[in-house]
Symmetry: C2
Subunit: 205 residues, 2 copies
């Protein structure tokens, strides 16, 4: 059984990770979405177990203590984490998994899964990013300013990623990510690993 | 002006490089095809300057002497080479170039263009490859046997390539190559190189 690919979709807060990820999942129904755990409050329309596993801080700390999280990070006062077991079982079963997480969490996943595919969603410009953060209409001015500072710092972490996908238009961004996943499945190293020893495979042919 | 990508499409003799390349060019009209020089005789339907620049051995040796070839290799008694000037000018002008060349030539290009995208077209199996070589109907039995031995040796060079694309079905193989080209344009290193210094780009935003 060939192991699935771990696709990590990240990028600065407000760049549109959630929207891109949800459109991508509709276009690629075989891609398994890793639902994160978080201590932040649900936004309107968000469903527990679908968008996030919403946890109290006590519950979250218990998961940390059991080493049940692949990564966890605090971001603007809330905790986010990736349940480890689900990701590992899905990859072992040969299915690709997509994680949509904050920049800090993605870099922690990279420490444990350097073979993952790390995609950084980039805003067309920082002005555009500010408009998106403001336009969400769910944050105070102080929060917006803080988020912009964090977003600018996060942009500087792009060099740790494999790919930079500009989110100029959602369909175009999704097409680029689909192409990246297809290309990663064609990596020569992956092909050789799946064949095992090439001479043996040739003998079988 | 962003530099174009050099896409090198190679693989064992008889795998279908020519067919895949010609379908790909119809699907991606912006991809500039690098026409190789060769001393081999034209096959039926091949046009000088379109499929190859057909050269005498003397003309070919003159190009080698002038350093006018990016790579050159002898293969089953014939010389093949890539005119250097055309490739370099096209890349500098921001267009992607595709080279469809034999395995030996591709590895020589890699020495000069390690930043190129090296794609190895793989047969579904060696039996399938033998059928394709035999089915072409233009070669003697000795030539077929020699080509099979060469093809098996060539398969062992796959590990020097970035991608392995199985040519099970032409449209599927072309879709994979299109995806690889799209993905390579999204490489974080390419994005950062094009931005120059990221902080400066942020200030401009």
């Amino acid at each position: 059984m060939n192991k699935g690919l771990l696709i990590v979709l990240s990028g600065p807060s407000g760049v549109g990770k959630g929207t891109v990820c949800s459109v991508l999942r509709k276009k690629m129904p075989d891609l398994v979405y890793s639902v994160s755990a978080t201590t932040r409050s649900p936004r309107q329309g968000e469903i527990d177990g679908v968008n996030y596993f919403f946890k109290t801080r006590e519950q979250f700390q218990e998961m940390m203590a059991c080493d049940a999280l692949l990564e966890h990070a605090e971001y603007v006062g809330n905790c986010y984490g990736t349940p480890r077991d689900f990701v590992e079982r899905t990859l072992a079963g040969g299915q690709d998994v997509i994680l949509e997480i904050e920049v800090q969490g993605a870099l922690k996943v990279k420490e444990k899964f350097p073979e993952g595919v790390f995609i950084f969603l980039v805003p067309p410009s920082l002005d555009e990013l500010k408009q998106r953060i403001t336009g969400r209409g769910t944050e105070t001015q102080d929060t917006i300013n803080h988020r912009m500072t964090v977003a600018e710092e996060e942009m500087n972490l792009l060099s740790h990623y494999d790919y930079a996908v500009v989110n100029d238009e959602i369909e175009a961004a999704c097409h680029r990510i689909e192409s990246i996943i297809t290309a990663e499945h064609c990596k020569a190293s992956k092909y050789l690993a799946e064949l095992g020893e090439l001479p043996a495979a040739i003998e079988k042919a």
